[in-house]
């Protein structure tokens, strides 16, 4: 009985990984998915401690120490995870990823120390786990440090050459050890050092904005390293979990690059060229501009309590009023309160917005005048600015030299999130820069307003 329990537990755990990962892919189920995968993990760990036997049938030793190690890890991990600020999440993920990589590397190292390379397959798995785990560990730690802004990008001439050479050397030594062409634990330690160094060199030159991609890549690396461990111990959850993360992580990396409109090679190697730093965020005269995809904007709005739409001349140019009304409907169906903030001079004629919105059959009751809506912005979750510019330009309040100084504007910048739909960074009627676009709580959804609006509607329907 007892000996079939572990395979069953393992099978359940593997299945929870699959289901959990699947559920993580949709906002509605993501939280549950995480919990399910976590539950499966607990099962697998408990099962291993209780029921694992080696081929000879002996149970595990050192149980108190193992439990102690788990306790220590749990306390530290939990503390770190709950204390970290929301903005520091990415580096935290990177850190934990590094821990996993180190763990995998250690296992391989110990395996090699105990048994050496039994067969080509066994040796390959050992060495792969060692090399990949080490790279993942040191790379993740560097990524962590860089995101914590304790280190800048470091580039030197010939860096790529050095990297490639090092990688080649590591691979050759690893292969030799695997095939038992070379042997010896010290050599394995040297190999580890080499791999660690490569991890460092690999991440060093990559710009901060590209770090998420790198972390995702290293994440899938750790997955593969874990799978190697699974291969070594013929352990299915490790194999399944590892490969799953390896393949899903790789796809995720590619998707992330795509959503930045770049190839993965450009991200990883582009840094060596001068314009490498270009990325989703653009440095402007007044600061950094953040872009947002229609998908993200849709999720932001769908999970908001209140959304205020600020229509401007761009809405008219794009003839996006019908799509806008639809967006309103979709959001309201999701329980979001939607209002329109109509600025008295939005558009190019008095009442321009009224004409458009009436045409799209937007109820008069949803239109709110500037004086009434302005006090509401601080409690608004998301403001969607549709082709408006001058009427939301904070310069009107602060910059006495500005031609629009003194004009009352919509104080959208007080809202928690501002999404601005326009085609470019170009100015509006008054011909002046708009500082709003550079605010930290502003993100830009570039493109024709009608196209963007339709994309938003489609995305919101999927949520």
């Amino acid at each position: 009985m007892i000996e079939t329990l572990l395979p069953i537990l393992y099978l359940v755990a593997s299945v929870t990984f699959i289901i959990g990962l699947k559920m993580l892919g949709s906002p509605k189920s993501a939280r549950k998915g995480n919990l399910i995968a976590g539950f499966g993990m607990c099962l697998a760990i408990a099962g291993t401690i209780l029921f694992h036997t080696d081929s000879a049938g002996t149970h595990l030793h050192n149980i108190p120490l193992i439990l102690g190690g788990i306790a220590v890890g749990t306390i530290i991990g939990w503390m770190m995870a709950v204390k970290v600020k929301m903005t520091a999440m990415p580096q935290m993920v990177s850190f934990f990823n590094g821990m996993g990589g180190a763990c995998a590397a250690l296992i391989s190292l110990m395996e090699y120390k105990e048994t050496g390379s039994v067969s080509a397959g066994h040796g390959a798995a050992t060495m792969a786990g060692l090399i990949i785990g080490s790279i993942s560990f040191s790379g993740s730690i560097i990524a962590y440090v860089k995101l914590e802004e304790r280190m800048g990008d470091i580039r030197f001439t010939g860096q790529q050459l050095v990297n490639n050479g090092l990688l080649l050397a590591v691979l050759i030594v690893g292969a030799c050890l695997a095939l038992s062409a070379l042997t010896g634990f010290p050599l394995a330690l040297l190999l580890t050092a080499g791999a660690l160094l490569f991890g460092v060199l690999f991440v060093l030159p990559i710009g901060g904005a590209d770090m998420p991609v790198v972390i995702s890549l290293l994440n899938s690396f750790t997955g593969v390293a874990a799978a190697c461990g699974g291969f070594l111990y013929n352990n299915m959850p490790m194999l399944i979990g590892g490969i799953l993360v390896g393949s899903a992580g790789t796809l995720l990396t590619v998707v992330m690059c795509k959503s930045m409109n770049r190839s993965i090679w450009n991200v990883l190697l582009g840094n060596f060229s001068a314009q490498g730093a270009a990325s989703g965020a653009t440095e402007g005269a007044t600061g950094t501009v953040r872009e947002v995809s229609a998908t993200d904007a849709a999720v932001l709005m769908a999970y908001a309590k209140t959304v205020v739409i600020v229509p401007g001349y761009g809405l008219a140019v794009a003839q996006a009023q019908h799509a806008c009304h639809q967006l309103e409907n979709e959001l309201e169906e999701k329980g979001v309160t939607v209002k329109y903030a109509v600025h008295p001079v939005a558009g190019r004629m008095p009442g321009h917005m009224n004409v458009l919105l009436a045409e799209a059959d937007v109820s008069y009751d949803k239109l709110v005048e500037m004086e009434e809506i302005n006090p509401e912005f601080p409690t608004t979750d998301v403001v969607l600015v549709v082709g408006a510019n001058d009427v939301v330009n904070p310069a009107a309040k602060t910059d006495t030299a500005s031609p629009i100084y003194g004009m009352p504007i919509l104080d959208v910048e007080l809202a928690k999130q501002v999404i601005v739909m326009k085609r470019s960074m170009k100015a509006g009627y008054a011909g002046i820069e708009n500082e709003l676009f550079y605010r930290p709580n502003t993100s830009m959804l570039f493109g024709d307003a009608k196209t963007s609006m339709s994309a938003l509607v489609a995305e919101i329907k999927l949520i």
């Binding site: 600025h343 008295p344 008095p350 009442g351 004409v355 009436a358 008069y364 239109l367 005048e369």
Partner: protein
């Protein structure tokens, strides 16, 4: 058969019974057309246009002498009745219930009269239904007239000089004219409320985006042939109370309520008018049938205590081009039904002929 068209002599009548396009259809069907010179001018159709499609343009006397059948729009005046040669068939608006004297005069003149307004409101007769075609245009025009008269603009506008609130409109009666008035007012951006006593109009009104004022007990109103059958005074009283709040808040009021050809119900009393908003406007489209507003006067505009009341009995005549086009098409369809090139059928077995032939062989048939 020779069909004659005369210049309309009724006051304010700018329509013409057949436009060139309808003449063309009739000529193709084997009839010939003779038209009094200038008959179409006010409606936007000069003599040339008629000649081009093959009609003959002539003096009035000539038309009267030659035509076996006269296509006419307005209710014939006494002068006009006097001119008709005996035996002529006249296709025209008559409103038999409201105009017994005219009918008697027509009978005496020995003509046969088809009342276009008496057309049955059946699906089959829809393309000959002048009440629909003309009231539809009139409903549109009533809104334009109201918009022209009121000191406000219809739509909501949020501008640098402040917000202009939309006009509040109240419409009595959601028949053909009322529905089109709703649609037009909504287009212009007004907030529209509507009252009617046929319960099924609620859905129709809402299908045009307006608010229907529900009256308790409305579900019990009986309908016959599309018209209200028996309306109790109780329900009219309840209606009066239900709409009063809207009436006193309204900037523009349009009344279209009729009851099956008879006298129009009085829906706005003089006392209510005195409580209405200063500067508001009433367009009473029922003045031909006595009016829905006590203070309204037929075809003129009066101002009572700051409220402008426009008697708009014949608004279709103020869009004569389109009105004549549609009227002409109705007449063509009607003639296709009742006439062959050799003459008109007076076979009262036919439901449509039975309903419309109001004077024949010197007899009044209703």
């Amino acid at each position: 058969m020779t069909i004659g068209i005369l210049l309309e002599m009724a006051q304010g009548e700018r329509r013409v019974a057949l436009v060139p396009a309808s003449c063309a259809s009739l000529i193709k069907a084997g009839h010939s057309i003779i038209i009094q010179s200038g008959a179409g001018a006010e409606a936007g159709f000069p003599d040339d246009a008629y000649v081009q499609v093959g009609a003959q343009v002539a003096a009035r006397a000539e038309v009267l002498a030659q035509a076996a059948c006269i296509a006419h729009v307005a209710v014939p005046t006494t002068a006009e009745i006097g001119e008709y040669p005996k035996g002529t068939s006249v296709i025209t608006l008559v409103y038999p219930k409201r105009n017994p004297d005219t009918l008697a005069a027509l009978a005496q003149a020995g003509v046969s009269v088809f009342a276009m307004d008496a057309m049955p409101r059946t699906t089959r007769a829809q393309n000959m239904d002048v009440l629909s075609s003309q009231n539809n245009l009139a409903g549109y025009k009533a809104v334009v007239v109201g918009a022209n008269a009121v000191g406000r603009i219809f739509p909501l506008m949020m501008t640098a000089a402040g917000t202009v609130t939309p006009v509040k409109m109240l419409i009595y009666g959601a028949g053909v004219a009322g529905l089109q008035a709703i649609a037009t007012a909504k287009r212009l951006g007004a907030r529209v409320e509507v009252t009617d006593i046929r319960p099924e109009t609620k859905e129709q009104v809402e299908s045009l985006g307006a608010k229907f004022i529900w009256v308790e007990g409305l579900e019990n109103v009986r309908i016959e042939g599309g018209y209200v059958a028996g309306v109790t005074d109780e329900i009219l009283q309840k209606q009066k109370e239900a709409v009063e709040k809207s009436l006193f808040a309204a900037d523009v009021v349009i009344t279209t309520a009729l009851v099956a050809g008879g006298k129009a119900p009085t829906l706005i009393t003089a006392e209510q008018v005195s409580k209405m908003k200063f500067g508001s406007v009433i367009v009473d489209m029922a003045t031909d049938a006595g009016g829905n507003c006590e203070s309204s006067q037929h075809d003129t505009q009066v101002t009572v205590g700051g409220v402008t009341i426009i008697g708009g009995g014949n608004l279709a005549a103020t869009v004569p081009t389109h009105a004549s086009e549609l009227y002409g098409k109705n007449v063509v369809n009607f003639l296709a039904h009742i006439a062959k090139p050799d003459g008109i059928s007076f076979d009262t077995e036919d439901e449509i002929i039975k309903a419309t032939l109001v004077v024949h062989n010197g007899e009044v048939k209703v």
